[in-house]
Amino acid sequence: MVSTYTNPEYPFVRSPDQDASPAAHHPVIIIGAGPSGLSAALDLALQGVATVLLDESNTVSYGSRAICFAKRTLEIMDRYGCGDRMVEKGVTWKIGKVFFRDQQIYEFNLLPEDGHKMPAFINLQQYYFEEYMVERCADFAHIDLRWLSKAGDVQVYPDRVALTVTTPAGDYPLSCDYLLVADGAGSPIRESLGLEMTGQVFYDRFLIADIVMKSQDFPTERRYWFDAPFHRNHSVLLHKQPDNVWRIDMQLGWDADPEQESQPEKVIARIKAMLGEDVEFEPEWLSVYTFRCRRMRDFIYRDRVLFMGDAAHQVSPFGARGANGAVQSVENLCWKLKRVLSGEAPPALLVTYNLERSHGADENLLNSTRTADFITPKNHISHVFRDEVLRLAADHPFARPLINSGRLSCPCTLDGSPLNTPDADDFRPQMRPGAVCRDAPVLTDGRPDWLLRHLGNRFTLMVCGGEAERRALASFPAIADLQLLTIGFDCHCALPGTRIDDVRRFMQSAYQLRPGTCYLIRPDQHVCARWRRLDLASVSTAMARALGRSLHSHGAAA
């Protein structure tokens, strides 16, 4: 098979910890340098927290796994400082075609949404995603990334976590205040602690084939077949990745023999039937997978071990919610962990990681299960409805939104979180407490810029200008961990914090701004409170609430 990518080989470097006695202690150790572990290291580094990141291998993902990264993930990557590179390398498609048997049912064009720095999604092989993050980690002296270092023998004590690291140079012990576990769906650490996951197995198998097209001219469009004529009664997805690599995701059914179905001759014959005899290609990666939708009941074990990504929650691949959901979980956790470590927030704040991300995990599970049920109808009558939806969609646009071949991951709104301060003033639900901030084009010092570049890592108080606010801001006290962002002040007066201008009025409508409107925004760019008037006491109370100071202690976590 051909290969468009050569995995980097990262060296094993002997750590001074290997010779330490007693065992070296670190505030945070992360297990697994995949999308979740790398995100956690970068997020914590940006907030000044040193981490040790352990990975048993010496390279990034083998073969292409996750390939679709949604806007919210890219915004988070932009905060980490590697978003631009991903977008530059990634490909995006606009034309999508849906087929039912031998008929093209309809074609759609995803017009880009104006007013966001990041596109709705990109397709990018997971190995590039990881490689760019690994390279970004090198910019931080306080990320200690250790390759060929396998963690095991985890012991949890009330005041610390101990573990053993196995390396080519022998074993050594380590301890930490908090252990972040991101060692994948099969999570050896989760298994070793005897922690269960609940959920369901889907009785279906899929074949992934990544192929390299000889010609550069194959149209960049997504094609999805229901009941494909070249693969009867099964669905097939074709879409593009960078390097002229195309992903084919072919449903095989539960009874298929995975060994036999992934024989190159058999796969190649199927792909020829799909693309036409004259399209030349070479396979780069073939694998058969089944999937589970399941999650841990509690992502936190005995207050000190925090599970992330696939180790904590797994979904079907439909809708690209695995890696995208994982990165959102990580960013939810890291700002909280930082503030618990610094003593700014009580340990109970960490409990809300489980609470808020359970909400996200459940939403992802629900969406991907619904897609699975549309692609593989569970019974006869579901099949009848599915097929009629597809047939009607050819001539009747109303049926098209019912077609579900995957719903792209959208950031979830943390409704009902105890960290939110519910609206007391007059606002529409859009951008309510719990929502992730929508990006907007702004001007900073007269130069084009983006709103989200000014949010994150710290709390932000965003104040929309008025005369009363100008006076209030003049005597606004400096609050540690809170930065000020001012918008729409007409005056040339001196104001504290960063000043941006909403010249294109995107913010005015999205955030329902008028003079006096204030938003308090968490370090993970979620709104936690908003008001129509600036009031220092309300801001302090809302910030204390967002830091979990009004939560009851987690004490009894088992």
Partner: protein, 75 residues
């Protein structure tokens, strides 16, 4: 079962014409066609109504013939 939003009061301008048309629709259809026609009709009308509250109330009345125990959610 008391629907709050779904109109279950008479609403047909000419009930007999509707009923005849409904029967004509299925006349001569085999079992497979009956299923397909029914499914299409439900989908078209459901979209026209659009309001999930109305649709859920209608589905609750339609589904009430299911024997208790078949569906724990319907009891």
């Amino acid at each position: 079962m008391n629907p709050k939003t779904l109109n279950t009061e008479p609403n047909f301008a000419s009930p007999d014409d509707f009923y005849a048309a409904l029967n004509d629709l299925f006349a001569g259809a085999n079992d497979e066609e009956v299923e397909r026609i029914s499914a299409r009709l439900i989908l078209l009308l459901a979209n026209h109504i659009g309001d999930l509250v109305v649709l859920t109330e209608a589905m609750a009345i339609a589904g009430s013939i299911k024997k208790a125990g078949d569906d724990p959610a319907s009891s």
